[in-house]
């Protein structure tokens, strides 16, 4: 079984639009949306939810106000600025900042604080027209998105084994931090989607370092390559120098946005005009199928 993660460093380069199309083109796969903060793949694949699973991330400190004597030890102890006192209402825990470490529970002389489990989000297993989709939604203002990504990937692996799938197709999050790192471990190929802008180039270099740091094979897709052909050439030269294959280039094509508005992956979108982007994505997918087997 092979695993492909689509990432970008910079947000908004077209990861999800591409993964939506790959979901149509790839055979015998499980699709995993590992952008658990702001998942969008469901807007193209319209999952019918089969199972919903609670995700318990980090715990949260809870204060029993009847025991609190306002001594302030908890505020001094907390390294995450999660406990503060306000005039009139006294000390309170800010659950959005609490990382559930329990240090305040340990130091409170009144035993007014305790750690409670909290449901930080939900993981889903769903049916789509293009195969099984595993996805999740982290509750807003929560921690531990990396752990939820790990849970989604574990669900994907189990289903792939059970159904005998030979590919897990992973839509990653933007950035280079915890949820991206959690979506990279043990995958066979990382497709980095970039765009020909100075920001795109800058962010490509950083995400590439992360991919290499974790020993994953990279490949690059230049999306909207015609918005600045000079920067596209810079990216191509950079990749050539690093020995990284450019799996494909996609023209700026407003059919992609039209397909998104219609809620359909662009390669499955019935447009009156033939979409160049859809053709380029299809070509790129065939190339990726070869690279991932190498």
């Amino acid at each position: 079984m092979r695993q492909l993660t689509v990432i970008s460093g910079k947000g908004g380069t077209g990861k999800t639009s591409l993964v939506g199309s790959f979901a149509v083109l790839a055979e015998n796969k499980v699709i995993a949306d590992c952008d658990v903060d702001a998942p969008d793949l469901h807007l193209l694949l319209h999952p019918e939810i089969l199972t919903k699973q609670e995700f318990k991330g980090l715990k949260v400190a809870v204060m029993d106000k009847t025991l609190c004597t306002e001594c302030g030890t908890c505020e001094e102890t907390c390294r995450f600025n999660a406990i503060a006192s306000t005039e009139g209402s006294g000390y309170a825990v800010n659950p959005a900042r609490c990382e559930g470490c329990g240090a305040c529970v340990f130091t409170c002389p009144q035993e007014a604080l305790s750690l409670k489990e909290r449901v930080s989000g939900y993981a889903y297993i769903s049916k789509t027209n293009y195969g099984t989709l595993v996805h999740a939604q982290l509750n807003v203002a929560e921690e531990a998105s990396g752990k939820l990504v790990t849970l989604v990937r574990e669900n994907a692996r189990q289903i792939a084994e059970k159904e005998g799938c030979n590919l897990i197709l992973i839509d990653g999050a933007p950035g280079i931090g915890c949820s991206v790192i959690a979506s990279l471990g043990g995958v066979d190929l990382a497709l980095i989607v970039t765009e020909p802008t100075q920001s795109g180039m800058h962010d490509l270099k950083r995400i590439l370092s992360v991919v290499e740091y974790f020993g994953v094979k990279p490949s690059v897709c230049i999306n909207k390559y015609d918005i600045n052909e000079e920067v596209t050439e810079e990216i191509e030269a950079f990749c050539r120098e690093k020995g990284i294959e450019i799996a494909g280039k996609i023209l700026y094509d407003d059919t992609i946005t039209k397909a998104m508005v219609a809620g359909v992956p662009v390669v499955a979108f019935e447009s009156e005009l033939k979409s160049t982007a859809a053709e380029e994505i299809t070509l790129m997918w065939h190339r990726i199928e070869q690279i991932i087997q190498e």
Partner: protein, 282 residues
């Protein structure tokens, strides 16, 4: 006055709005804090002269084996499983799991655990070419998962005497909270597409938890559909500015050029956002 620029969805134009807004406030002292420490981009547009670079650190435990008696109290105290005690041999520390809370050193009955700094990135401070804008940004080390402490440390540089603009990372989780918390107002940048709308709603949910006032900037106006507009009208959310999907703007962006410096008619439009926010915040 502290104004954060956030979005939920990545790539909607947070940095574009933050930088062009900063450049449009010519009559104010402006400080821009780029809190997207995973992929900071503001410096690409502002070309700052860097005056100071300092390490950003978090604390990790270190064990004094002359004092440790392998009692094993530290490992179960750690909520992140960052410590494992091998009886009579070793206390293994996994720095990438450690949140730096300090609990292990508190619970150790032998005082055998102390903390030492671990570098997670750097903070850079500088001024843009003409010296008008002070820029502070964090750069997270490659392979590092602890973005939040670095964001907190960027925010320690905040100068309350200035008009402060915060460039927030995408998403809805802990790094976003760390970046927006303490702001007087939040500008949410979105694009008029289904992805833009879905993620805008998530970002709004975060701001409601934090009880922060907000308004929306619609970038790439003209693409997609009208649903973001309908949603904002229905919810009574002010649309502060529309930036048209424009080839020239896209081109300047791709070159790393802030478009207000080439299209000065936009300066007043950005300045007007600030005027409106000031009146609103009071």
């Amino acid at each position: 006055m502290i104004i954060s620029v956030a979005s939920g969805k990545g790539g909607t134009g947070k940095t574009t709005v933050a930088v062009n807004l900063a450049l449009s406030l010519s009559n104010m002292q402006v400080q821009l804090l780029d809190c997207d420490v995973e992929e900071p981009n503001s410096h690409i547009f502002l070309n700052p002269v860097i005056e100071e670079t300092k390490p950003a650190q978090t604390l990790v435990p270190t064990v004094n084996y002359e004092l440790c008696d392998y009692c094993g109290k530290c490992a179960p105290a750690c909520e992140y499983n960052a410590l494992v005690v091998v009886p009579k041999q070793q206390v293994m520390v996994f720095p990438e799991l450690c949140h730096g809370c300090g609990l292990c050193s508190m619970v150790c009955p032998q005082d055998a655990i102390s903390e030492e700094p671990r570098k997670i990135g750097v903070i850079k401070k500088g001024r843009s070419g003409d010296g008008k804008i002070e820029l502070v940004y964090g750069v997270l080390n490659i392979g590092e998962v602890m973005a939040t402490p670095l964001i907190d440390q960027v925010k320690e540089e905040l100068d309350p005497a200035k008009t402060v603009i915060i460039d927030v990372p995408p998403g809805t989780a802990c790094p976003v909270i760390a970046a927006v918390q303490g702001s007087d107002y939040c500008i949410l940048v979105t694009e008029p597409t289904p992805f833009g709308l879905y993620d805008l709603k998530l970002a709004i949910a975060v701001l409601k938890v934090l009880k922060l006032p907000f308004g929306v900037v619609i970038n790439k106006a003209g693409i997609g559909d009208r649903k973001v507009y309908e949603y904002c009208a229905k919810e009574g959310i002010p649309i502060l500015l529309e930036i048209a999907h424009d080839k020239r703007i896209a081109r300047y962006y791709s070159e790393g050029v802030p478009f207000v410096s080439e299209m000065p008619e936009w300066e007043e439009r950005f300045a007007r956002i600030m005027k409106g926010i000031k009146e609103y915040v009071g």
